[in-house]
Subunit: 306 residues, 2 copies
């Protein structure tokens, strides 16, 4: 079956480049976003504008949603002028947002009543991955629906994984966020310990990245911390939203995650300062600097004390 008529709700930093890939792949795409200005470049590329979520969901085969949180997904589907009211039986909704696994299962059950499949399909790989179509996409939901939309997902990402039933994609994304948050603490503590010994961050990153202490966080966030570059990347406030989802899932299942909880507190310390939530997650190093009593100096300028 060819799925060429696409609705796409949410054309922000992540959504917009994905719509571009679909357009270049030959799809007819109707877009809706809270802020029309963000969609304008896509209209130039051939997308059609819809004033409401329902407008983006009319006469389509597949509806993509790429918004922030569980209530946002519920709003565009079931709120005023929501998409669900007009989705034809047999449509597949692909939710690229990172939201709660349990909320996902509720939404999927509600849409199943009208014969619509809801796949959770959160992504990892960031804005760079979205632009270069190198995302990993973690999919939960019925295998038949997954098979139908897989060719579309392959236009958006490099690694497409059907994890399991509804919610499983979000559950695995939550695990990914645990890893990202905890690994980041290791990078901060190692860089600060190195600095106290007069070891430049570049020396640490270069010597240790390929070894047993290596991580994506060290190789990618270490240099930004060293350079004092706190631009997002991935905003602290979105990481915190994801960690709330992690804790909700952990609480429901009785999974004790003390390191993840500690990472949340470190990010909370970043958020406690004006504009902190809009910094990239590598700004965790600034919270550590304050903990170590040197919040006013550059965090990673080596001082030779040996």
């Amino acid at each position: 079956m060819s799925e060429r008529r696409i609705g796409f709700i949410g054309t922000g930093i992540m959504g917009a480049p994905l719509v571009g890939h679909l357009l270049r792949g030959g799809c007819r795409v109707t877009v809706h976003s809270r802020t029309r200005a963000k969609a304008e470049p896509l209209l130039v590329q051939g997308a059609t504008w819809a004033d409401t979520p329902a407008g983006a969901a009319a006469e389509i085969d597949v509806l993509f949603v790429m918004v922030t949180d569980t209530p946002d997904v519920e709003q565009v589907l079931f709120g005023e002028n929501g998409a669900a009211a007009v989705l034809p039986r047999g449509t597949v909704v692909v939710d690229l947002s990172t939201i709660s696994p349990s909320g996902t299962r509720s939404i999927a059950a509600r849409l199943a009543e009208q014969g619509v499949d809801f796949l959770d399909a959160p992504v990892t790989g960031g804005d760079v991955g979205a632009r270069n179509a190198t995302l990993t996409i973690l999919v939960g939901g019925r295998a038949e629906a997954f098979d139908r939309v897989r060719p579309l997902l392959e236009q958006l990402g490099r690694r497409i994984v059907h994890v399991g039933p509804s919610g499983a994609g979000q559950a695995l994304k939550a695990c990914n966020q645990v890893l990202c948050a905890v690994n980041l603490m290791g990078v901060c503590e190692a860089l600060l310990l190195a600095r106290s010994a007069g070891i430049a961050p570049e020396v640490l990153i270069d010597a240790l990245s390929a070894g047993a202490g290596g991580s994506w966080a060290l190789a990618n966030y270490g240099p930004r911390m060293a350079a004092g570059d706190m631009a997002p990347g991935f905003m602290v406030k979105l990481q915190q939203k994801d960690l709330r989802i992690v804790q909700e899932a952990g609480q429901a299942a009785g999974v004790v995650m003390p390191a993840t909880a500690l990472a949340q507190q470190m990010f909370r310390s970043v958020e406690a300062r004006p504009g902190g939530g809009e910094l990239g997650t590598q700004a965790m190093i600034t919270a550590y600097r304050h903990l170590c009593g040197n919040g006013d100096e550059q965090p990673t300028r080596p001082s030779h004390r040996t």
Copy 2:
């Protein structure tokens, strides 16, 4: 200058294969170890046995030491029949052990008085790296001494880094141990969260290792945790020894490391059970299982609760 007459003290799991590399590289090696039996295979390969540390240090150019902790290094150098008493002026001592940076500086100062260089040269890469000569070696001490022994170190490892002055190699090794310990908590918490959602560990490891949550710990310890394989690798009790060194260095410098401290506590929980200290560090997952109230079941057998 050709440095061909070698003394080597400590022929355990790490030291023995390194002596083998030196012998194959054409060096004359005199070995001493607490347990002579561990050195026997090396004697067959051409090494000479010495009954005491002093015996291994006579008429040599370079003395390698590969023992466990700071007091062990002090003992073989300055204890009864210690090596220091017989080391000729101009000798270089290369300490491959992982010990305290401050202890290292004290030893270096003491040996400098008799015209002997002491290089700290802790390694990372484990027993596999020792056998395959793929270790990373992190060296602290005078550049002239480093340059002299570099050809020997290149027989032992793949990546030889002169980090800085005396103690800098140990300081960077401490940073590496911070990364290893903290990353391991991320792996444990992510695997347990995945399991609670019915996601098999293999699916998580396969889907997330190449992404933003990826780490050496996930790729290498994740599968062992999944298989219930708790064999060392790197023993919990040695990791704990290294984390004590980390905390000593952190305390001296005013570096606050809450995640590292939490990792120490998790390892302490592993050590609290009989034989726990001799397990591999991936056994941290068993402490988490007990925290989550399911200490008696297999940690990573997925249960489909979705």
